[in-house]
């Protein structure tokens, strides 16, 4: 009966892959069943002798432990149930559970009976679990976020990590058992409570921004993430991650300030992408240009703002800088949406990220119309002043030379008369005196004429048919023209009008006609061709002759000065061109000359037509 039962056990054990072993304490005889041999990967006829079975236990802790346990069982009759790592005959690592019962007869241990079970699979599972637990607890404890686990049945915090303590200022033990609402300032409690309640019902991962209150009453901006729930013993726990976002908030606040500054400043700001099209503009820019945001975005701001008088060179400079992704500073004449002009000082700055990749252009500008207008006015005033100055210089020269030369002649005559003893001789010098005074009064008359021209800058200009005036001048000079055999032709249309003071135009035409006649060349048939062209705001009349011409390099600087003559003509007075120049300047015009000695001259009369 007993035998049968034992046999049954063996079979059951075998089918459960549980090995059975037996050792006689006195003889140290050991017997192993087939299951053990299979686990140890030894042949079926393997005989364990002299306790060498111990050697399958992996050297070190495992082998030392089994040795002690066996000794205690043998000597003191203490049973054991332990797990070990073994190394099989084929050098495989396995985990086994060894249970040992001590058979005691007459108070003495007689036999050790035991089981030997391969638990490698189970052990591996346990190891994995242990690893996961370690991993998760390390995440839990070292996470940068504060993690709270809340018992949803009562709202108390059941666990938290060390970061929570840092964040809240509480000791970790103080936090555990605290009601979660205590973490939030009063005014945020309701919001936080609702959020947590919502997360209890729904599953998705959600985030909310709020504040927590530290132990010391300080409010810290945080972001709460929640959504993880787990259930233990019918109690649902909610995991909350709380992240300190003070730094982000600071940056956000700074950014908000910056963007407030950008949108509220009186300087205009436009942000332009690398293609040169606008992505944003501030209110000042919209106010200045008159465009709205939709009209600006996606457009090239330069294209929107340019107009007929915008300087092409400046536009090219700006385009080049944008193409080369360079910063640039320009001042440009722009137009608003309503085509009103304004001067725009623009600073285009390039923005690169930390990797030196180009991000965009920022154009900061301001309306400098009043400044530029003042500058232009100043420039104009400077021009007027310097032209007045050079006129004044001429006058000084006239006074110092022309008048002086006559008066010195007169005093020389007086000197001669004084030094002459004979009365008849004295009287004979009076003719010279008369000649001197006549010349003086002639000079003074010319001077008067020039001063008159320079004073009458405000005489009304009128529209005059130029062709008509040319014909009149020809008529007045018909005798001289005939005598000098000069051919005068013109290409002036009969209906062409010029804007001028009639008397001045008369005088200018007369002067240029007589000049062409006076300084004609004797070596060829003389011609004078009159043509016209339009240069910007001026109508330019060209008087082109084939006369003597003059060396502009030598005399160019004094051709329009007073009393300068360049040819050995008896009737050259050196006053005509000086008066012509003054008359033209009085009408906002000017005179220029192109000439070559021996070939002829071309006098260009600029009449201002605006």
């Amino acid at each position: 009966m007993m035998e049968e039962k034992l046999e049954l056990y063996f079979k059951a054990a075998q089918s459960a892959k549980i090995g059975i072993w037996k050792m006689n304490v006195a003889t140290h005889d050991e017997s192993w069943d087939a299951v053990i041999k299979c686990i140890l990967e030894v042949p079926e006829d393997f005989k364990p002798v002299n306790g060498n079975g111990i050697n399958f236990y992996t050297e070190g802790e495992n082998r030392n432990r089994i040795k002690i346990l066996i000794e205690r069982a043998v000597n003191e009759g203490i049973s054991f149930d332990e797990k070990f790592q073994i190394t099989t005959a084929k050098n495989n690592i396995k985990y086994i559970e060894c249970i040992c019962q001590v058979e005691i007869i007459d108070g003495k241990p007689m036999n050790l009976l035991g089981t030997f079970q391969d638990i490698t699979n189970e052990q591996n599972l346990i190891n994995e679990l242990q690893l996961s637990v370690e991993k998760f607890s390390s995440i839990f404890s070292s996470a940068n976020d504060a993690i709270f686990i809340i018992d949803t049945s009562n709202g108390l915090i059941s666990d938290c990590n060390s970061r929570s303590a840092e964040l809240t200022g509480y000791d970790r033990f103080e936090v555990v058992g605290l009601h979660n609402s205590k973490l939030f300032p009063k005014e945020f409690r309701k919001k936080a409570g609702l959020f947590l309640k919502y997360n209890l019902q729904k599953n998705p991962y959600t985030v909310v921004e709020t504040y927590i209150k530290t132990k010391f009453g300080k409010s810290i901006p945080v972001e709460i993430a929640s959504g993880k729930k787990f259930k233990v013993d019918n109690i649902t726990y909610l995991v909350c991650f709380i992240r300190d976002i003070s730094e982000r908030k600071n940056v956000e606040n700074k950014l908000n300030l910056l963007s407030l500054a950008a949108s509220e400043t009186t300087d205009t700001i436009v942000i332009v992408n690398k293609e040169g099209t606008a992505v944003w503009a501030n209110q000042a820019y919209l106010n200045l240009t008159g465009f709205n945001m939709e009209e600006i975005i996606g457009q090239k701001p330069g294209n929107l703002s340019k107009g007929p008088e915008t300087d092409v060179q400046t536009i090219l400079l700006m385009k080049k800088a944008i193409k080369n992704k360079e910063s640039i500073k320009i001042t440009i004449l722009n137009y608003t949406k309503n085509k009103e002009k304004y001067w725009f000082e623009l600073n285009i700055t390039t923005v690169f990220d930390s990797q030196n990749n180009f991000i965009n252009f920022i154009g900061v500008g301001r309306n400098v119309t009043s400044r530029i207008e003042k500058e232009l006015e100043l420039k104009r005033l400077l021009e007027v002043t310097s032209s007045q100055n050079s006129k004044l210089f001429n006058f000084t020269h006239i006074v110092s030379h022309n008048i002086r030369s006559h008066t010195s002649n007169l005093s020389m005559i007086v000197d001669v008369i004084e030094n002459t003893d004979c009365v008849d001789d004295k009287l004979s010098y009076f003719d010279l005196f008369k000649e001197g005074t006549e010349k003086l009064s002639e000079s003074i008359e010319y001077l008067n004429e020039i001063i008159c021209v320079q004073q009458k800058t405000n005489i009304e200009k009128t529209k005059i048919f130029l062709k008509n005036e040319i014909e009149k001048t020809k008529m007045a000079l018909s005798l001289v023209i005939k005598e000098s055999e000069i051919t005068i032709t013109d290409t002036i249309p009969i209906d062409l009008t010029v804007t001028a003071i009639p008397a001045y135009l008369d005088s200018i035409l007369l002067n240029l006609f007589t000049n062409a006649i006076k300084y004609k060349s004797l070596e060829r048939n003389s011609t004078l061709e009159i043509g016209y062209e339009i240069i910007k705001d001026y109508l330019v009349i060209n008087f082109k002759d084939n006369g003597l011409g003059l060396n502009l390099e030598k005399n160019g600087h004094k051709i329009f000065g007073m009393y300068k003559t360049f040819h050995d003509n008896e009737d050259a007075k050196g006053i005509g061109l000086f008066i012509t120049k003054n008359q033209l300047e009085a009408m906002n015009g000017k005179i220029e000359v192109e000439s070559k000695e021996g070939e002829g001259s071309n006098f260009k009369i600029y009449l201002y037509e605006k």
Partner: protein, 133 residues
């Protein structure tokens, strides 16, 4: 050495006439030759460049003249192949300091005389010439 021949170069005929009268009453020189423009004077000088006997001893030169002014005359004069020492006196109604300054840059210019020319000034000039000689 006595100042024999003097050129007067001035476009103002009245001045030339008066100068001649003053000089003839003075012992300034024996003979005067007048030019109403500087170009003619240059031609004459060029023509006689090799003959020291008929070249002038002194030239009274005006500055403001048509065709060729006093400065242009001086520039051309310097380039002439003349070995004789000819004293040039600028004689002008210009009191412009720039002109006086400019005159000092020409070595051949011995004196800058402001018009009107008086007997006194001619006497001083005589003394200067004899000092120079």
């Amino acid at each position: 050495m006595k100042n024999k021949l003097t050129y007067i170069i001035d476009d103002d005929k009245l001045t030339v006439k008066l100068m001649s009268i003053l000089i003839s009453k003075n012992d300034f020189c024996e003979e005067i030759e007048s030019f109403y423009n500087a170009k003619d004077a240059i031609s004459k000088l060029k023509e006689n460049a090799g003959d020291n006997g008929i070249l002038p001893d002194a030239i009274l030169l005006d500055l403001n003249m048509p065709v060729m002014d006093g400065w242009q005359f001086l520039d051309e004069f310097i380039s002439l192949p003349i070995t004789k020492e000819i004293h040039i006196f600028i004689m002008t109604s210009s009191i412009d300091p720039a002109d006086i300054e400019m005159a000092t840059t020409y070595k051949v210019v011995k004196e800058y005389i402001m018009k009107p020319i008086t007997t006194q000034k001619l006497d001083d000039l005589c003394k200067l010439i004899s000092d120079l000689n």
